[in-house]
């Protein structure tokens, strides 16, 4: 009863001051809003616009000068080329692409395998291990694990190319052949394995840091109490630690899904989508290939933009699903201070 009355009272106060409050709120949010507008909304709108044109090396011109704008642009001396508004035909082409199912499947396989086994799974295991050993050793181990992340991508991938190279160069072969194994061109034999490992080793360090700080902030009394209550180490992890780091777990899952969806540079450098046709081609790499790197020297920016835009939509859909399923709104508690 009391709570309801109090809530109503607070609502009234809030409404009376809502105009002022929302102005204040907007002024606090404005820096973030400027950034999001500049670096997300405007690029996405441009992307959508380009994806509705036939902009390519052949038709090159200013994509804003289509339809009724052509003559006006020409009179200003802007290069108009043969760019034209083509409606949704790029999208029709995309969904009719022979390799569309293959690329979609690759993307989902790549994102979720890397996510489950490395970016969340391995990260959690590393965090648990490094918080259960001596503090300084754990810290050192985590610092070493961060090295690949600060290594330039090209160097990091060159290392892996050497490791997985064909005999007589491959480091892996040099270890395996003396043990009686056949030398193999490992990268061609198991391209996915290396794509996932190279991404996963780097990706795991993010979750590792977040999880280990979350684990270290769990009061020691809970762990001690659980031990006295009769729990084994595994039971403590399952019944105490994991539930208490639920939010970091969900956050890392969401964040890493999105960053894996958009990531392609290691794959580009390692396999470039191969070997063969589209063996490890993922969505963002396709967008890159269509727009910026084709066999025939014809960069189809309009078509590539369509792939890019669909990826943005997929990312938004995943975010919405995660928001609903994980109930992130519960994470943000009502502030305990009254409106000013």
């Amino acid at each position: 009863m009391e709570a309801v009355v109090q809530e109503q009272a607070m609502e009234m106060v809030a409404r009376r001051r809502s105009w002022r409050v929302s102005l204040e709120a907007f002024s606090f949010m404005s820096p973030a809003m400027v950034l999001v507008t500049l670096f997300f909304f405007i690029p996405v709108v441009l992307l959508l616009w380009i994806s509705l044109t036939n902009l390519s090396s052949n038709t090159f011109g200013n994509p804003l000068c289509v339809g009724g704008m052509r003559d006006f642009c020409e009179s200003l001396g802007i290069r108009v080329g043969r760019v034209e508004f083509v409606g949704v035909s790029n999208y029709r082409r995309l969904f009719a692409d022979r390799f569309f199912p293959k690329i979609l499947g690759n993307t989902l396989f790549y994102v979720f395998t890397t996510l489950i086994f490395f970016n969340v799974g391995l990260a959690l295991i590393l965090a648990l291990l490094t918080t259960h050993i001596e503090r300084r050793t754990g810290f050192l181990f985590r610092a070493i694990w961060l090295l690949p992340r600060i290594t330039p991508s090209v160097i990091y991938i060159m290392m892996w190319k050497r490791i997985s190279a064909d005999a007589p160069y491959g480091i892996l072969n040099q270890f395996l052949v003396p043990l009686g194994f056949e030398p193999k061109a490992w990268l061609k034999e198991a391209p996915w394995l290396f794509v996932i490992i190279t991404n996963g080793f780097v990706g795991a360090s993010f979750g590792m840091l977040i999880f280990s700080s979350a684990i270290e902030s769990i009061p020691r009394d809970y762990i001690m109490a659980a031990k006295v209550d009769g729990a084994s180490t595994l039971q403590i992890i399952r019944t105490i630690i994991i539930p208490l780091i639920k939010w970091p777990l969900l956050f890392v899952t969401t964040y890493q899904t999105l960053s894996l969806l958009a990531s392609f540079e290691y794959i580009l450098l390692l396999t470039n989508g191969g070997p063969g046709l589209y063996r490890t081609e993922v969505w963002s790499l396709t967008a890159y290939h269509r727009a910026l790197q084709t066999y025939f020297g014809n960069n189809q920016w309009g078509y590539g933009a369509a792939w890019g835009f669909v990826l943005v939509v997929i990312g938004i859909i995943f975010s919405l699903i995660y928001l609903r399923v994980f109930r992130f709104d519960e994470l943000v508690q009502e502030p305990k201070i009254d409106a000013l």
Partner: protein
């Protein structure tokens, strides 16, 4: 269960937490570990629970060395100062947790949790999360969780220090009653000597990781073996007066210093007569306002009056900058600056060596 500590020590590098403690807790006994903050009480308790490994020494349960038995196999119930209730579980799940780990049937778990919860008076709170409970309720849940698995040994780490004074009194009685009813051997860590005195069968006084004394509350109160015990046990604390001499004149023993000269009973006097300047201890309750001047009174000036409700705690300045405390009836309306004469009842007076700080009567 009988618990025995043999030369138990815990060190971290050169930090000494616990230093060579040996003691025995009898089956069904309620023992308090009493000592100032940082003296190693929690460390000792956590070693008994199996969470810390002793650096040296042995822990025995019923005569069996348990140093290498993991906590889950020790059958101990423990109540933490912070309560350590699992925040993501309901009260029911918190209390049921030890039973679930034992994989007992669901029906039995439900029954036992309900029984313990009803006993603790929290049967109606089972669906709540710990964050929705008051401190006292959380305390009861923690106690329930410790009791539900019928432990052989109960460990308490300052369980009442987060409660208000009134609730502390209630819970003190409640814990003591449960322990007596159930007859579970208990070790109770506290830095509050009133708690230790009122609840424990025996008290282990610890200072700087060392066991100072291990005895019944009466013994510690009546026959303190060191200056530290004398000053730590009792509330308000014992008055300690330095530079006192005991002399024998005409068959009577006198204790004297510049501030006063009062007779001492011969049993006590003969043990300390002629030892030069020593420390005299007299409890506030053994000092009273003298009815009339009989030549044996101690004269002083009231310095501070602290009303405690039933009594006033009076601080008196004697000659030579000596201060003593005693309790007086508020109706007497003593005020700072008043000159008063006190009577020292020396039948329970204590004497200590100023060098070794050991008792000269019981040392």
């Amino acid at each position: 269960m009988r618990v025995e500590l043999r030369n138990l020590s815990k060190r971290w590098g050169n930090v000494v937490g616990v230093d060579n403690i040996s003691l025995e807790v009898k089956d069904g006994e309620f023992v308090a570990f009493l000592g100032p903050s940082g003296c190693g009480k929690t460390t000792t308790l956590l070693m008994i629970a199996g969470i810390y490994k002793p650096t040296s020494g042995e822990i025995l349960f019923d005569g069996r060395v348990v140093n290498h038995v993991p906590p889950k196999d020790r059958n101990i119930g423990m109540v933490f100062q912070s309560y350590a209730l699992y925040p993501h579980m309901t009260v029911f799940d918190n209390i049921a947790y030890p039973l679930k780990l034992q994989k007992l049937p669901k029906e039995e778990i439900r029954e036992r949790v309900q029984r313990v919860a009803d006993m603790m008076g929290i049967g109606h709170l089972l669906d709540r999360k710990p964050g929705q409970l008051s401190g006292g309720q959380q305390q009861r849940v923690a106690l329930g969780r410790a009791l539900v698995k019928n432990p052989k040994l109960l460990l308490f780490d300052e369980p009442l220090s987060n409660l208000d004074a009134r609730l502390r009194l209630t819970m003190r009685g409640e814990i003591k009653r449960r322990q007596m009813e159930l007859g579970i051997t208990s070790i109770y860590v506290t830095h509050d000597q009133v708690e230790a005195m009122t609840m424990a069968d025996r008290i282990a006084v610890i200072k700087d990781g060392k066991l100072q004394a291990y005895d019944t509350p009466e013994e510690l109160y009546e026959r303190p073996r060191t200056l530290f015990i004398a000053s730590f046990i009792g509330n308000p604390p014992m008055n300690l007066i330095r530079g006192v001499e005991v002399v024998r004149e005409n068959g009577t023993y006198w204790t004297q210093c510049p501030a006063f000269r009062v007779p001492v009973p011969p049993e006590r006097g003969e043990k300390v007569a002629g030892q030069g300047e020593i420390i005299m201890g007299i409890r506030p309750e053994d000092i009273t306002l003298a009815a009339e001047e009989d030549g044996q009174g101690v004269v002083g000036e009231v310095y501070v009056v602290e009303p405690l409700g039933r009594d006033d705690l009076i601080s008196v300045q004697l000659l030579g900058d000596v201060y003593v405390h005693f309790l007086a009836d508020p109706h007497l309306k003593l005020r700072p600056g008043m000159k008063i004469t006190m009577h020292f009842d020396t039948s329970k007076v204590q004497f200590f060596d100023p060098e070794s700080e050991r008792s000269l009567l019981w040392g």
